[in-house]
């Protein structure tokens, strides 16, 4: 009953999406406000029905209704409640339902809070959202229905993939989807602008908060996923240049470029045509990511060829939306007027440089991910493109980008004074040189690149601080004045500083982890002591335990530093009976931003356990950086200008009138 209701709600949502994608457009053509307002009610109703459908699937999973194929294949009655819920999107069908639910959520938000948008623009934006939604509802209903029943319901389910039975699954996919799908709003705004053939600075101001929201979630989602992989997969890596990871990195890079170009458009009415293109590309890359992950094409081109229904369907959606929007772009973009002019050395110029490097980086990830697939399809040759390729091509792009980064916010609009800015960045430069010298001396001339990279990171962080100091005249004016100025600074200025500092912080973490990571691989018996990076690790105890749906072997290590006990670590190995598979649960001890990491291997016949112990200096900064970036984004989002929206002034007097 619940399954059928959920299925039916999804069909109704499709019907609503079809109305939403046509009627408002007709309304905009006829200039009929009633027809245009249909977009609003259908978007909200769609959210309601998809929400019901999603809740139905959650209920089925919680109730362990194994007569539903999706529940049978991915759940188990003994599974903890949290994983029964998160297991809903731990599989293909459920994750697509989450995808459309979030799409409907964003559509609903635009409908509910888009009151300051011109009526036609809102109608067009929601209609484009309707097209996307309709395509994906069809995809789910035709190829990936999560509500299919089994004729003879089994008594027990097959359980969820053990690697996914982790808190990470509760957070990572929803965050990532909020990012991926959030960019659909920028896309819809871009297509709507192209349809209307009109675009101005106000457009950028409406789009920017939506882009920011998506970007914040994508940033956190990627960082979360990286940390999850780091502790769950058990070999201490945090980024693998895996195609699936690349699929999320590409929209992030394009989205970051979009955020920056939208600033130019909002402030200076320039780069309009480029911003529109970026908005289209960002969501196209999100769609591409969905295709790559969902079609099975990554596992093998042949796997795609043997069961092509899902893959071909998404490929079709991909071609229609990307091809259609780009065709529309080519046809209409020339009609958009170019805006304000600027000298190459200016804030705009710096942001253009940012865009050049970020889009090139994005293209590098794109070609590295798709080249092996394309080559195999065309010539049948198989090649691999992995981490060493990206380290060589993607990495160097960030050196000039990060060197230029601190200059950007300090340059004036239109025409900047490079020498003046360089002078003001002197302090940051000195800080960077000191950092290089210190790291060099401390590591006594080991790897040459690492101290330079740390210096670059310090330059970026110090540059963000200099920006704030300059704007508040700290050290030059009395403290009270500086304080007043600091409070008066727009939140977006603080946001910029935090986000930019976050980039530097992440870089420090990345450099330290990759350069000074130390590891011990060996077999340890009870009471053996191993020394690593100044710590003594003693294997105290090995025990067996029964979990809810697994058995586990726990090893207990006590950690001492200079004779003082600093902690106890209990890594484990879990064996899941239903799937006959096992996971390694690494144990981590944080010391400041550094971590000790232990994961277990096989047990030998003589009772020795293979262990892998890492000391990862400042590794936590890798994820603290993105958190700072997201916090910066949040500050920027709370900026008054974005909250108020562009054309508000006309509304205020009207609201006052009745009181007179």
């Amino acid at each position: 009953m619940i399954a059928e209701a959920g299925h039916y709600a999804l069909v109704l949502a499709l019907a609503l999406a079809l109305i939403q994608s046509t009627v408002p457009i007709v309304g905009a053509q006829l200039r009929d406000p009633a027809l245009m307002n249909v977009a609003r009610s259908t978007a909200l109703a769609q959210l309601l029905f998809v929400g019901l459908s999603f809740m139905a699937l959650v209920t089925l999973h919680v109730q362990s209704d194994f007569s539903v194929a999706n529940v049978f294949e991915n759940s188990h009655s003994m599974k903890p409640l949290l994983y029964k819920i998160t297991g809903v999107w731990g599989n293909h069908e459920g994750s697509m339902l989450l995808w459309v639910s979030i799409l409907a959520l964003f559509g609903g938000l635009v409908a509910a809070f888009g009151n300051n948008l011109p009526l036609t623009l809102r109608a067009h934006v929601l209609a484009v959202q309707g097209w996307i939604a309709a395509a994906f509802y069809l995809f789910i209903l035709i190829t990936s229905n999560p509500f299919l029943r089994i004729a003879n319901p089994p008594i027990e389910g097959r359980d969820l993939n053990p690697v996914l039975q982790d808190i990470g699954l509760a957070v990572h996919p929803p965050m990532l989807y909020l990012g991926y799908v959030g960019f659909s709003i920028s896309f819809s705004f871009a297509v709507a602008a192209l349809i209307e053939g009109r675009i101005d600075a106000a457009w950028a101001r409406w789009v920017r908060p939506w882009t920011l929201v998506a970007w914040i979630f994508l940033t956190l989602g990627i960082a979360m996923g990286s940390y999850w992989a780091y502790y769950e997969l058990g070999w201490g890596g945090w980024w693998f240049w895996d195609p699936v990871e690349n699929a999320s990195l590409m929209p992030w890079l394009a989205g970051t470029a979009l955020l920056h170009s939208a600033v130019v458009m909002e402030k200076r009415n320039a780069l309009k045509v480029w911003t529109i293109l970026l908005a289209i590309l960002t969501f196209s890359l999100s769609l591409l990511g969905t295709f790559l992950v969902r079609s099975g094409v990554l596992t093998s081109v042949h796997a795609f060829a043997t069961d092509p229904t899902r893959g071909v369907f998404i490929l079709l959606i991909l071609c229609v939306f990307i091809g259609g929007s780009l065709a529309l772009y080519m046809w209409r973009a020339s009609a958009l007027k170019q805006g304000g002019l600027f000298a190459p050395i200016s804030r705009e110029g710096a942001l253009v440089l940012n865009n050049l490097f970020l889009t090139t980086a994005c293209a590098t990830v794109f070609i590295g991910t798709l080249y092996p697939l394309a080559l195999e399809v065309i010539t049948g040759d198989k090649i691999s493109v992995g981490a060493p390729f990206f380290n060589l091509t993607f990495g160097p792009l960030f050196v000039p980008l990060l060197l230029a980064l601190p200059f950007g916010p300090l340059l004036a609009w239109k025409r900047g004074d490079l020498a003046g800015v360089a002078q003001r960045l002197m302090a940051a430069g000195i800080a960077a040189l000191v950092a290089i010298a210190l790291v060099w001396a401390w590591t006594s001339g080991g790897a040459a690149l690492a101290p330079l990279a740390i210096g670059l990171a310090v330059f970026v962080i110090a540059g963000a601080v200099v920006d704030l100091v300059e704007r508040t005249s700290l050290f030059r004016a009395p403290f009270a004045t500086a304080w007043r100025r600091a409070r008066g600074l727009p939140r977006s200025t603080w946001g910029t500083a935090f986000a930019h500092a976050g980039v530097g912080v992440a870089l420090i973490g990345i450099v330290c982890e990759t350069t000074w990571n130390s590891e011990y691989i060996g077999t340890m018996k009870l009471n053996d002591v191993t020394k690593l990076a100044g710590y003594q690790l003693r294997l105290d105890d090995v025990t067996q335990k029964q979990g809810p749906n697994f058995r586990e072997m726990l090893a207990q290590f006590s950690i001492t530093e200079n004779g003082d006990k600093v902690g106890v670590l209990t890594p484990s190995k879990r064996t899941f009976t239903t799937r006959q598979s096992s996971t390694t649960e690494a144990a981590l001890l944080s010391r400041g931003a550094s971590q000790l990491y232990i994961s277990l291997g096989e047990t030998a016949a003589d009772g020795g356990i293979a262990v892998r112990i890492y000391h990862k200096p400042l590794v936590l900064l890798i994820w603290f950086g993105p958190i700072l970036m997201a916090f910066g984004g949040l500050l920027s989002l709370s900026d008054r200008r974005l909250r108020v929206g562009a054309p508000k002034p006309a509304k205020a007097p009207r609201a006052l009138q009745p009181a007179e």
Binding site: G225, D242, T379, R612
Partner: protein
């Protein structure tokens, strides 16, 4: 979502052979040779895995390859000889960093081409628009005869207004 697929692959490899990537018994006694082996392992693909190096992978095949790399190193092969040996045996697919050849030219060239091409396009665009701007300014500064006449009129009207009261 990305992690989920990666996890599926990882778990597929774990089934049956739960083990660490590099195992204690593989490690060479000579630390210099061992670190060379680790370095090479990071550039070699575990061919049954999805985009994992043999250094990271837990698959039995990866272990075989790691042992093979160490065998060649102890036999006195240079790094490039080890790589050539593996390519001869398993094909280019085993390299995580493809060699620069005709068929991989676009892969390697795209990044520098885009950067240079993008830079040149921006520079030309800037020059073109700068020139257009100059023309625009010059023509905007010159008033047409009609505009001159209209200004005369307005000025005359204003002086007349000023006098009247």
């Amino acid at each position: 979502m990305k992690r989920i697929i990666a996890s599926f692959v990882a778990i597929a490899l774990l089934i049956g052979a739960p083990a660490l990537a590099v195992q204690p018994d593989e490690i060479l006694a000579n630390p210099a040779q061992e670190s060379r082996a680790r370095e090479l392992s990071r550039e070699l693909r575990c061919m049954v895995c999805q985009n994992q190096s043999i250094d990271d992978s837990e698959a039995p095949l990866a272990r075989d390859l790691r042992l093979l790399v160490r065998e060649r190193i102890t036999a006195g092969d240079s790094n490039s000889q080890v790589m050539d040996f593996l390519v001869a045996r398993y094909g280019e697919f085993v390299l995580l960093k493809p060699r620069l050849e005709w068929r991989t030219l676009l892969l390697w060239a795209l990044t520098p081409l885009l950067l240079i091409g993008g830079g040149v396009a921006l520079w030309r665009n800037n020059r073109r628009r700068g020139a257009a701007d100059d023309d625009h300014n010059n023509s905007a500064l010159k008033l047409t005869a009609d505009e001159e006449a209209r200004i005369e009129q307005l000025l005359a009207a204003e002086t007349a207004d000023g006098k009247s009261p």
